[in-house]
């Protein structure tokens, strides 16, 4: 049974369709990437899942039951992109306050905070104020506050912005560990290399619509362009074949080729064997998520531009 199931979710504003008929489901223990350009409707979608907004249409199922914001919100940890804390409040008190708002009792909240503060080496921060912390330190604190009450579902919107590589890794490790212990994580970002590294499953949202859904590998397979890298023993002379096109010449006698339709990898290898060119390396080049992202999002922009020229 999926932990979270979103069915035909819609949220319209007066001027735009922020979320237009989006459905997906997330299995427990997965790290789920929610991708999309700015203004795609990611935040609106997340706000509906956290119970901040009510959807206009569609439904959300949490652990198989209809999502009840009042009760289920306590089992969700949400770290919004626009996040902050009270400037003038002591960090310890602040953490206690937010933990109690999530339904923890006072002694329980204290125990949990102590545990996490020790884990992240933040014990000395208790009596400090946010003003005294750097941006990265604040980020770490935000993360702790988000996961403190041991939520089933953790939603992180751009969790690594402003973090140095050391702290980034610390949080990344923590995310893996939480996923292994059965937490489900929704991870929203623009940084594609992080998505490729961390996420099991992704969806891509643009202009309120879902345009891509699947595991990272599935998506890459779906958008592969039959590109291959060939490493040769010596610099090849001009290569001309009807089975493939040369995309570019690479370093170390490498060639990037694209196989023409109707031909297979063996046809390419056959060509080089016939040419007496020893092949040292041969592997498929899958597109990076970044390329796919840009292609899909820019493509949609191109459609609008074309449309405009027709009108004028």
């Amino acid at each position: 049974m999926p932990l979270l199931e979103v069915k035909n979710l819609k949220k319209y504003y007066a001027t735009q369709k922020a979320v237009d008929d989006i459905s997906f489901s997330i299995e427990p223990g997965t790290i789920f990437g929610l991708l999309g350009p700015n203004g795609a409707g990611k935040t609106t979608l997340l706000r509906m899942i956290t119970g901040i907004f009510f959807p206009d249409e569609g439904e959300i199922l949490f652990e198989g039951k209809k999502f009840d914001p009042a009760a289920d919100a306590l089992r969700i940890g949400y770290m919004p992109e626009e996040r902050g804390l009270y400037k003038k409040m002591k960090i310890g008190e602040q953490a206690m306050y937010l933990a109690q708002l999530k339904g923890l009792s006072r002694p329980m909240a204290y125990k949990k905070i102590k545990h996490w503060f020790t884990k992240f080496e933040m014990q000395t921060w208790w009596n400090k104020k946010i003003e005294d912390l750097s941006k990265g330190m604040g980020q770490k604190l935000q993360f702790v506050i988000t996961v403190l009450h041991e939520p089933k579902l953790i939603i992180l919107d751009e969790p690594f912005s402003g973090l140095d590589p050391v702290n980034s890794n610390l949080i990344k490790e923590e995310i893996y560990q939480l996923a292994r212990s059965g937490c489900t994580i929704i991870f929203s970002t623009h940084r594609m290399e992080q998505v490729e590294e961390i996420c099991d499953q992704i969806i891509l949202v643009n202009k309120g619509e879902k345009i891509l859904d699947g595991t990272v590998n599935q998506v890459k397979q779906q958008y592969k362009e039959n590109k291959f890298f060939i490493g040769l023993a010596k610099t090849p002379p001009s290569v001309n074949s009807q089975t493939f096109d040369v995309v570019s010449h690479e370093e170390n006698n490498g060639l990037m080729v694209k196989i023409r339709e109707g031909y297979s990898t063996n046809d390419v290898l056959e060509f080089f064997i016939r040419q007496q060119l020893p092949v040292r390396e041969f592997h498929e080049i899958l597109p990076s998520l970044n390329d796919i992202f840009i292609r899909l999002v820019e493509g949609s922009a191109a459609v609008t531009r074309q449309f405009q020229t027709v009108v004028s």
Binding site: R47, T50, G51, I52, F54, A70, A73, L74, I76, Y78, M79, P80, E82, R83, G84, L85, Y86, K87, K88, M89, Y97, L98, Q100, L101, K102, G103, Q142, I145
Partner: protein, 444 residues
């Protein structure tokens, strides 16, 4: 319920523990006491009178020196308009050679302009002298006889009695009612602004610090808003009670320093011993003091205190919700806050303007109606209540004013909650009144 309680607790404790709060709570009564002390000191010790020389051959001014309010007059035939200032006078009053009985023939020469009160006092004195002159000339009545008759007549004082249930045996006093009403409604006016602005700043802080979204994922926006409003209201009440305690303590300390025989004298005046001859100037002040303390006891303090707490509380709740709505719609720019706040502060300022009129005519229809309309009632009604319930303010007016204020509070809170929940999560966009109106009245 437990969550709104957590929010209230945080709002209350962070503010009460704040150094500024502790300082202002303890310093304000001190400042207040100091201010009263200074005012008393100035009125008692004001010896800095303008010295004015008089050139008068007509005999209107009989006394060689005469000290009246703000001026000291001295008959001095040796000075003239050229050298009066060298002799230490600030002005020279010259009586006319002819037509003495027309005061517009009199001339007052000075280099700087004299205070209005001084000029008025001199005018009064001339009129009186002229009057005496004419009485003497036409009816042959002696000056001194007139003065003694005047003095006897002057001792008569009007004792006001209010009729009607509730204050049968109470001696009404418009002066004390005036002062109490003015003070109470002004206090509400100031606190509406102080605590209203505090709510607005609190909401703005949560919005600009981006903590709102973190909290709203675990608390309903309405609970967050109400928690803030109630928490800050509790801070206001705490401050009031602290002030009352501190002022009581201070005044009893000050009371201990006033000499015993002075207090005895005040008490005697208080009992209303008639015909007590007061020759000294100081005793006149004592009599006034005695009269005031007598009149203070004629005011229904319990009713006024209860009404004050009610109108402060619900007036605050009525406006705080609106201030919260404004705070939620403002972006970082404080300039926006100013322009959006204007429609909310407007009725409060209008109320104080109406109050100033209502306190002199507490029975007028303007005063009556605006003390029932929730936008103005906290301020205007507080100005009317000290004049007597149900004498000046019938029970039906008080009841409908209170009920409408409670209904009004529910109304503004309901509207503001809708604006708040949209505004608090909207970043980087300047909100107009038209949009806020739309948020408030659209179906959710």
């Amino acid at each position: 319920m437990s969550k709104i309680w957590l929010v209230i607790k945080r709002e209350y404790l962070t503010r009460v523990k704040n150094k500024t709060f502790i300082l202002s709570t303890f310093l304000t009564p001190l400042l207040f006491a100091g201010l009263i002390g200074i005012i008393v000191f100035i009125t008692v010790k004001n010896t800095d009178k303008e010295k004015i020389a008089i050139l008068d051959n007509s005999g209107v001014f009989t006394k060689a020196t005469d000290s009246i309010k703000a001026v000291q007059l001295r008959l001095n035939p040796t000075v003239d308009s050229l050298n009066y200032d060298k002799s230490g006078y600030t002005a020279l009053l010259v009586a006319p050679h002819q037509g003495i009985n027309q005061s517009n023939n009199w001339r007052l020469y000075s280099k700087k302009s004299l205070p209005v009160s001084a000029v008025n006092a001199i005018e009064d004195r001339i009129r009186k002298g002229v009057e005496n002159n004419m009485l003497m000339a036409q009816f042959h009545v002696n000056n001194e006889n007139i003065d003694s008759i005047r003095e006897q007549a002057h001792q008569l004082q009007l004792e006001e009695k209010r009729l009607g249930a509730g204050n049968n045996d109470r001696n009404g006093s418009s002066v004390v009612a005036y002062i109490v009403g003015y003070g109470a409604s002004f206090l509400i006016y100031i606190t509406l602004f102080i605590y209203g602005a505090m709510v607005m700043r609190g909401v703005m802080e949560e919005k600009t610090n981006r903590i709102a979204e973190v909290i709203i994922s675990s608390v309903k926006p309405f609970d967050l808003m109400m928690g803030k409003i109630i928490g800050i209201g509790a801070v206001g009440l705490t401050q009031f009670f602290m002030w009352i305690i501190l002022i009581t303590v201070f005044s009893s300390i000050i009371g201990a320093f006033i000499p015993h025989d002075v207090m005895m004298q005040v008490n005697e005046v208080n009992k209303g011993v008639p015909g007590m001859q007061m020759s000294m100037q100081g005793s006149e002040a004592m009599m006034a003091l005695g009269k005031i303390s007598h009149e203070l006891s004629s005011v229904n303090w319990l009713l006024i205190t209860i009404c004050f707490v009610f109108y402060f509380l619900f007036g605050y709740l009525f406006y705080a919700a609106l201030f919260a709505a404004v705070g939620s719609s403002v972006n970082e720019d404080p300039q926006d806050a100013q322009s959006l706040m204007f429609p909310v502060t407007m009725p409060i300022i209008l109320a104080i303007v109406i109050m100033i009129n209502a306190i002199t005519h507490p029975d007028s229809s303007l005063a009556t109606w605006s003390s029932i309309i929730p936008f103005f009632s906290p301020i205007v009604m507080m100005a009317r209540i000290p004049f007597g319930v149900p004498g000046t303010v019938p029970y039906w007016q008080l009841a409908s004013s209170m009920i409408l204020l409670i209904l009004g509070f529910l109304g503004t809170t309901w509207l503001s909650a809708k604006i708040y929940r949209t505004g608090i999560l909207l970043y980087g966009k300047k909100v107009t009144w038209k949009e806020m109106w739309k948020w408030a009245f659209r179906k959710s």
